[in-house]
Amino acid sequence: MPTGAQATEEHPLPDAKACRELLARMMLIRRFEERAGEMYAKAKIGGFLHLCIGEEATVVGSVDALRETDYLLSTYREHGQAIARGMPPREVMAELFGKVDGCSKGRGGSMHLFDMERRFLGGYGIVGGNLPLAAGVALASDYRGDEDVTLCMFGDGATNQGTFGETMNLAALWKLPVVFMVINNQFGMGTSLERHSAVTDLSKKAEGFGVPGSRCDGMDMLDVKAVVGEAVRCAREERKPQLVEAVTYRFRGHSMADPEEYRTKEDVERWRERDPIAVFSKRLVDEGVMSQDDVEALDREQSAAVDEAVEFADASPFPDLDSLYDDIYVMGDQVRPWWSVDERSPEPHRGERERESGEIAHQLAEAGAAHVEDDSEARERGRPRDDSGGAAEHRDEHGGAG
């Protein structure tokens, strides 16, 4: 397997301060992801965990091509995007821990990070689901006459969803300021590109819909930034939606539960030789921008930031059980009708009045929550629960969504 679309020429380095900042961001993401993996193994994190290790150049280069007022939408593999966009690692880690101080108050988990203030409009768990959303966000910008551009990221697998073609057509037809970016990491879950897509040059896949494409080397942060930057300029100034393909690779499995039977260790090793952080660090040292000691010190700073994030996440409480029904609707002052009905207890009540529900309802909520203990021991030992297929089972055997 070829290792990507290597840029034909080396891009000049930005100034020393920018170089340092970009390297730091890639390192922070790497250290964050490594620690998240460890926390998953310790059962501090549940559900699915999709790491972007190997894709840091793609993430950091593209996000750096945006203005602060531009919008960004991503997939369920989006910790890196959130951090690159400036979200504090502690809020991301707390979300992964399911804690109340997480960016989504523990409701969404790893796959559903969000930060309105930074215009990071979410990670999404449904493959292809974010493409129409992104075009809609761009529609709003166009409608208001704003200059903002929306960058929508998705994986190679998502190009096979109906929403891909439908969104490309409408974005082109309505001349929306949106850039679609397919992060081609070579696999839709466990299915390799050439086994899931008839057209493997994904940069060409939207041409027939009126969206021109370009390709960048997803392992070269400066190439990503240059190519995405030009696409963003086109979308902003010429109102022409663009598709950018970043050719990259995920060094880890699809999720933490992926046995990776669909690829060889040699393939992974070949890509690891192009590790975007190692390559960029080496260039900075070779060209005298930073010393090796500087690089190592910078890396230690990022590890310390991740340590702090883990401490914060650990100390944060779980959401109050009474908060279960909060925020389903925007209710304003209208609280009289039954917005939600709770039938977990023999005291049916309005969900929005969960806090005022009776004693039995409260006892049962506590009793339900106490079932977190059912499989926690088995999980921490990392042993599958054979008899009833508890959480450990899927951790071992389930790869999750494409």
Partner: protein
Amino acid sequence: MATMRYREALNAALREEMERDESVFLMGEDIGVFQGAFKVTQGLLEEFGERRVRDTPISENTIVGMGVGSAMAGLRPVVEIMTINFALLAMDQIVNHAAAIRYMFGAQVKVPLVVRMPQGAGHQLGPTHSHSLEAMFLHVPGLLVAVPSTAADAKGLLKAAIRDDNPVIFIEHETLYGRKGEVPDDAEPIPFGEAAIRREGSDVTIVGVSRMAITAERAAESLASEHEIEAEVIDPRTLRPLDLDTILDSVKKTNRAVIVEEGWPHGGVGANLAALIQEQAFDWLDAPVGRVTGADVPMPYSKPLEQAAFPHEEHVVQAVLATFRDL
């Protein structure tokens, strides 16, 4: 009898039906090389080859639609959807096409399609991967809906689903895949529309849907040992066709009914069944029909919130006790 896991029972059903009938084939995301997200299709690619075990792109609506088309043309496709929430992407093909085609074309054609998918909470998969949506499919005339809770039922019902000439929505439960059970060696298909009485009792009827049949059985043990209440536990196994007679006969004997489901309350299986029971057995009821459902919320990720948001045996016990307090 052999002891096997729920996933192994499903695997055996697929294998046996594929051996029996050349027209049976599988399609789905990562069912072949990856061996299935939950390993239900493990080994089948090797055994049957790529013609009959087809890895598909991530294109749910189209995969199901191709299942409908190939079924119309005489094949017996079994489509795997990775999780029930992803089946929502295929609702157009399921509702507008699979369910309606035979009726709207005057019975000139049939759609012998099976769409398999896991549902359920408990693994912190969050608001886009862990709902229980059997009521949505139950709502649609033209579809059959199976909700097996044991390994034996998983095997027997899947065999029946594959042989059935109607489109079947076959709903597995994610937390049951590793659960072991006794499965008859020469497992024959289990006919749709035959409920299983999991436990006999004279004081109250508990109907448990999907995994909640197991939760109901646990609750029944507590009710017997701690409250001297003998509950009859019924697992309907298929929601459409529904073995309403078995449920009504039981209610007429016990005079009380509680329905337990993991899905949402509005328009839920329990709402529907409570209406049917009170319409047809009102005179036998000594208390309002009780129901226990999942919380009326998108499933939260955070572990304690998630566990609090779906029924456990404690909830069922309280619901049953409430039917006695009304006396």
